[in-house]
Symmetry: C2
Subunit: 504 residues, 2 copies
Amino acid sequence: MSYARFTDLMAGINDILCTVNLLAWDTRTQMPPGGADSRGHQVATLTALARAQATGSAMADAIAAAEDACAHLPATDLRRRALARARREIAILSRIPAALIAESAELTSRAHGAWTAARAANDFAAYAPVLERVFALQREMAEAIGYQDHPYDALVGRFEPGMTRARLTALFADLRGALRPLLAQALAAPAPRTDFLSRGYPVPAQKAFAATMAAALGYDFSRGRVDDTAHPFEISFTRNDVRITGRFRESSPSAGFFALWHEAGHAMYEQNIAPDFTRGIFATDLVNLYAVGGSSFGMHESQSRLWENRVGRSRRFWELHYGRLRDAFPEQLADVSAEDFWRAVNRPEPGLIRVEADELTYDFHVFLRAEIEAALIGGDIAVRDLPAIWNDRMREDLGVTVPNDAQGVLQDVHWSHGYVGSFPTYTFGNIMAAQLFDRARQDPAIAAGLQAGDYAPLGRWLTGTVHRHGRSLDPDEILLAATGRGLDPAPYVATLAAKVAELA
Amino acid sequence: MSYARFTDLMAGINDILCTVNLLAWDTRTQMPPGGADSRGHQVATLTALARAQATGSAMADAIAAAEDACAHLPATDLRRRALARARREIAILSRIPAALIAESAELTSRAHGAWTAARAANDFAAYAPVLERVFALQREMAEAIGYQDHPYDALVGRFEPGMTRARLTALFADLRGALRPLLAQALAAPAPRTDFLSRGYPVPAQKAFAATMAAALGYDFSRGRVDDTAHPFEISFTRNDVRITGRFRESSPSAGFFALWHEAGHAMYEQNIAPDFTRGIFATDLVNLYAVGGSSFGMHESQSRLWENRVGRSRRFWELHYGRLRDAFPEQLADVSAEDFWRAVNRPEPGLIRVEADELTYDFHVFLRAEIEAALIGGDIAVRDLPAIWNDRMREDLGVTVPNDAQGVLQDVHWSHGYVGSFPTYTFGNIMAAQLFDRARQDPAIAAGLQAGDYAPLGRWLTGTVHRHGRSLDPDEILLAATGRGLDPAPYVATLAAKVAELA
């Protein structure tokens, strides 16, 4: 009975946070322009309600009573894990003052406008004071949350449990060292044909192909739907309703496919969380007040990257499915082979923009952002120095010259939204995806499925290994159980090396 | 300061209830089928939160403190009216036991399935026990709310403040007496051409015409949008986001137009509530826990009916706009004049189905339902007798023979949703629409606008007279201020008589 009281309260909080997700989805896909102000009130009210319920005395009493009732169970029992997680997350949430959350929310709404204007005007100086305030508040956030070594630990730990600045600095240094020669090697190879990618591909047929393949990968449309947005995303309101969005352009077919399969990868994670976990603590992030079923931001990204890059950009995938694409675009692809297409969508090309980066250059964009974040939070650099730091590093790492700040330090929305500490999780996701995929394809049924275009065996393995656990396991626990190792970049480096060789 | 505390709490409740409206809109327009169970939890949790906030001690304390702070103001001051309304509505809400609300909600979800199955199988006996339980709970509801003369007063009063069974019985008897000879007279006239209504009219062009005209009537698309549903409806999330839905069929163009303009009429009410009232008590129904800005269900219906019937079905409207319709369907309408079209969409035709009824027969469907509701609540008749009562009355009033209960007593969803006492508001709306329109067109600028197809003067008058007041005035106050009389069927009868004469 005591434990049921705790789960009832958690279910109610999850209902509120799922509804906040619906408000967010609607804002980005359906809402008429006039609705923005009212929507802001609705999100603020519901988020405050969720926080009040999580940090209130009814929840504290329920947790204490449930802990007593469960004290006789082994510490590994799921009920004890649920209680421990709730207590830990609520403790962190309680340490963040409501006034700080309110000021951050107010600043975020102001910062977004300032960022948009500054990027349009290519005027970093106009944005710098706002960005200084963002980082000042994030330093306060870090102090409120608490940390052992470095304030950045508190921030990155909100998105990736157990991660610290020291750990990611070492990890990223290793990875950078391994990626540089691979990139040089890839760029030395002859460039593939890409001329046909910019031919006109009518959007409806692109969408139909992308959606058919998303369903083939395992996305369940009876518990989901696809809409159009400028920036594709995935969002869920329990495992029973997990929606994705895509962006398709006539002149760029492959970008739309991979973006949709990326979001479908996120969505399959949410759709396959254990039914008992949905609406519970294992599908609720009480630190960030977010209804989400993934173990961490990095683990979530691993699922999107796995389907996008390990499956969707594989040679076999296009050997199997290119015929269907050519049937949809017989004129545009008349002179293009499956091999041509696969090579084109894997072309390495150092560029300015993170979201357009290929697999070999993507992580360099992350390294730069993580270093800047940690140094700003640590007080080692000043906001005014960012353009110079940014441009130097882009030249050094990728050999590209940044022509203006709009295509440089002003390109990402994250900081203006108060997201400091989330960039590294993109690279964690790349690493985890390779670790998991490497292990999975050792299973003969999975390997045979990938060979035949039957993705159900891989999906079942991911569900059993990752998805069903929701937030009941930390990322390191999932990786250890699946691969015998914690976060380990070696399979990722080996995977990229093999791809470079395959493309040579 | 004390008053601000009250309005802050009200704004928070409105935020929750607007979000419940979004959950409802999404359920009916966007949600994938798998999402239903989770959605039910989300609606139940948010509704319970709104109820808890409305009936909790913080609100009671805030109202008491604000009443003290406002005691020196005249009783007509809006702040005192807001406090009085909140106190009155919360008192009613508090008298409805939470257990009764929960049992009603549970029954509603069961009853909807039972109703759907019974209607499909034409099996009233299978539905009767559920309907008996619905009415038993509604009797409990009436006792909890309280009443002076008849339990039905408590139920109809939830939707139409100040209305009672005695008042509506007398009103409906008068109206029935006036409508019967008009209907007989109309049916004696030669039938108009309607052959062309069943030609194929492609839906996209129908939608474009209907939406263009909805905008011309005054629906603001920058604070709204149109979607498709089997049953058209309007719903709002503050005045800044008011959405409508339509249903268009190739074989029946006019039904889709009038349904959309009907919903646009509801929507203009919500869009034009005073900005200060949105998010407040004057845009929140605390008895029904519903974010809505209208004075009553009847007054809301008056706005939909006014634009649908008084404007949209007028001869002048089609003289002005038929050319645009014929441009959209040049082949289908080649042999059809504006006069033909206007006559066809005003054809009186006694039928079985309320939602398909014309202006002269619609109210008879309402009379029947209101009598049955009141008699069931009063214990004067039994559920098992409904088919016989229904069929007798349909024969007597409209001269039609009901071939089966699916097209008779089982046709409406309302009772299975626990809506008992709402049917009469449809007729109140018809009456009020005629009262208001009669008064409005005495204004030369409004009359000139209607003549020229400029609907802004009428819209401005309705905004000033009805819309902007939200729930700050009761329907009788609005009618009295606008027309010098309370609810009065005479203008409605005169309007219909004039139309019968015009069509003769």
